[in-house]
Point group: C2
Chain length 372, copies 2
């Protein structure tokens, strides 16, 4: 194998592929990046147990075809630090890669490409297309509530249900829930019901260019996202996702309309105190009669904080409710800049946050903490 390539182009492709590569894998060859030169195309592949990324470029001059696996992190560091834009890479029969640029010449040991696992096969005939920004928003909204614990693996994923021109994405770690619903989409009519690992979706979200369309194909145990010169594979999580539809309360007895950023900066302050204390709990007290909203936290060993908030309206019964401020902070970040509708029933039943904005519908659900 022998090819000439520009440093800037190669670096970008390598960084994209590196997202799938973990240095903590138990399969040594997966710490490497697979490089194939064939015809006029250079293909880079990275993979771990969950995701695989394949990216290609034709901005390359292939002098001799071939394939090699090189230690990913080390190789990429070398490429980044080469002195000139022009790079010549060649492989000898001992699986050694020579990397030349300017008067610099590296020679590094490679691995046998025949030991590299083959990528999953996903039929792309029945795929559908989704806008990059839309997919990124869906991922960023739902990934916050995926479980970080492996005790119930299915909860580490995002549950996607696509049916009848409607897409619902939902996640829950059993303490909170985050859901997006998009309707009127140019989606396929076919029913899809899949659970994709949250970590894989987070990596995908970081790679997506908001302006481009993404082609999505789903097979029995894999999902494939294709955009530009990149293929992003993720395995699907096996098993039934719990039914979340009945978790979201249909009615509320207290409604608070408030500016999202105002509530967020107040939560940031209150959580300074709750984090310093033992329990990480803050209390929201809403009084329709006195027309006030007070956020407070009290940790006798550290101190207390109390703050009355500006709001737009309160309708309904007075309530005092305690919860983990980190959950509310995550939810408010997802809901963004506008006005937020909070709905409460009782101090021990989950409460909801919904965005006033039209278009897509976001529902955030938080389970309160019993403090007495």
């Amino acid at each position: 194998m022998k090819f000439k390539i520009k440093k800037s182009i190669f670096t970008k492709k390598l960084i994209d592929t590196e997202r799938a590569i973990s240095s903590k894998t138990t399969i040594p060859v997966l710490t490497g990046i697979k490089i194939s030169a064939e015809d006029t195309t250079l293909t880079l592949t990275g993979s771990n147990a969950d995701i695989s990324i394949e990216t290609l470029t034709n901005n390359v001059e292939i002098i001799e075809e071939g394939t090699i696996v090189l230690p990913a992190r080390f190789f990429i560091e070398i490429i980044k630090k080469l002195p000139e834009e022009d790079i010549l890479i060649s492989i000898n029969e001992n699986l050694q890669a020579s990397i030349e640029s300017g008067s610099t010449k590296f020679s590094i040991n490679g691995l046998d490409p025949n030991t590299y696992p083959t990528l999953p096969i996903v039929d792309t005939k029945n795929g559908f297309v989704i806008n990059g920004k839309k997919l990124k928003d869906i991922i960023d909204t739902t990934v916050i509530a995926t479980s970080k614990q492996e005790s119930r693996p299915i909860l580490t994923g995002i549950h996607f249900i696509i049916n009848n021109q409607k897409l619902i994405a939902v996640s829950t770690d059993s303490h909170r829930l985050s859901q997006v619903e998009e309707t009127g989409e140019n989606l396929v009519d076919k029913l899809y019901d899949v659970v994709i690992p949250g970590r894989a979706m987070l990596e995908l979200s970081r790679m997506i260019d908001e302006k481009e369309d993404i082609n999505v194909s789903i097979s029995e145990n894999q999902v494939l996202f294709i955009f530009k010169e990149t293929k992003f594979y993720s395995r699907l999580l096996e098993g039934m996702y719990p039914d979340t539809t009945h978790l979201i309360p249909e009615e509320s007895t207290t409604h608070l309309l408030i500016d999202g950023p105002t509530l967020l900066s107040s939560i940031d302050r209150a959580s300074l105190l709750s984090h310093a204390g033992r329990n990480n709990v803050v209390k929201l007290s809403i009084s329709d009669i006195n027309s006030n909203v007070v956020l407070s936290s009290n940790s006798p060993d550290v101190g207390l904080v109390e703050e009355s908030l500006n709001f737009d309206s309160i309708v309904g019964e007075d309530i005092e409710i305690s919860f983990n401020p980190d959950y509310l902070r995550d939810a408010l970040r997802v809901l963004g800049q506008g006005k937020i509708n909070l709905g409460f029933t009782t101090p021990l039943r989950p409460f909801t946050l919904k965005n006033e904005d039209n278009g897509k519908q976001i529902v955030e659900l938080i389970t309160p903490i019993r403090t007495y």
Copy 2:
């Protein structure tokens, strides 16, 4: 105690004082920041075993005098996140501090200020003045070669000798040495010979405004730097600093003149390979006869790198010398943008780097590694 202060002014003063405060201290009261309101002045004090910082401001409205110690990191986080620029702080008889800003009110537990250690007493009558930028450069140049190990505590310091209108600062961890010499300074004629902990000097360097003059006073076991509204105390290290004057070779048999940044980027590349291998060694081969300079590194388990360098001149005998590239990188960073003079004698004797620039004289010394 009760005072009103602006958030922006208070935050800056708190951050300056926090530099002296460690959360890892064994003396609980030292995790706190001492705040004293007296007459028209607010004084903040932070301290650990090595350094103490006292900073004051008159941009404050003191309503009631008093003193308190508050948990430093927590208190500073709170101040930073307060909603309004106007802050009112008051202490009650139970050592609780109330912090009010806008509609936010924190109440946090303080510590008894009577348990806070008193600052050292340093006579400032015989102090001298040094320019901020000059002091910062001296510190930044020498701190790189201070030892990070506590096995020989004296080597963790920077050795300052001030005598006869000349200042010499030198440090060595016994593998390398870094020295600055400034002459013709408006310094006192009195002899000073002190060793100041490198870590204290690094904190000082980060606080110094290059444009201002610094007043330096030295007592038997403390040094005090005064600038603007800040006093910075450091203890001196006890014991004799080793004699370093004979370490710097007076003659060299090979002289290389080369552009500093060129050599630095080459070292950055070569150390990618040496860091991946077991020994972290690179080799510099200088040939006056063939008129070439080659930097290389070889780790059989990883690979090898070789690079011929552009240089200005070689004078003297051919030499091959091996060393830790991290030492050369640190030295080159200190020497900056200009041309560098390297001087070698034999492959096992230390080599020197000197800056072509006039004004101050910098000498960097690196001990080679035996590779055969």
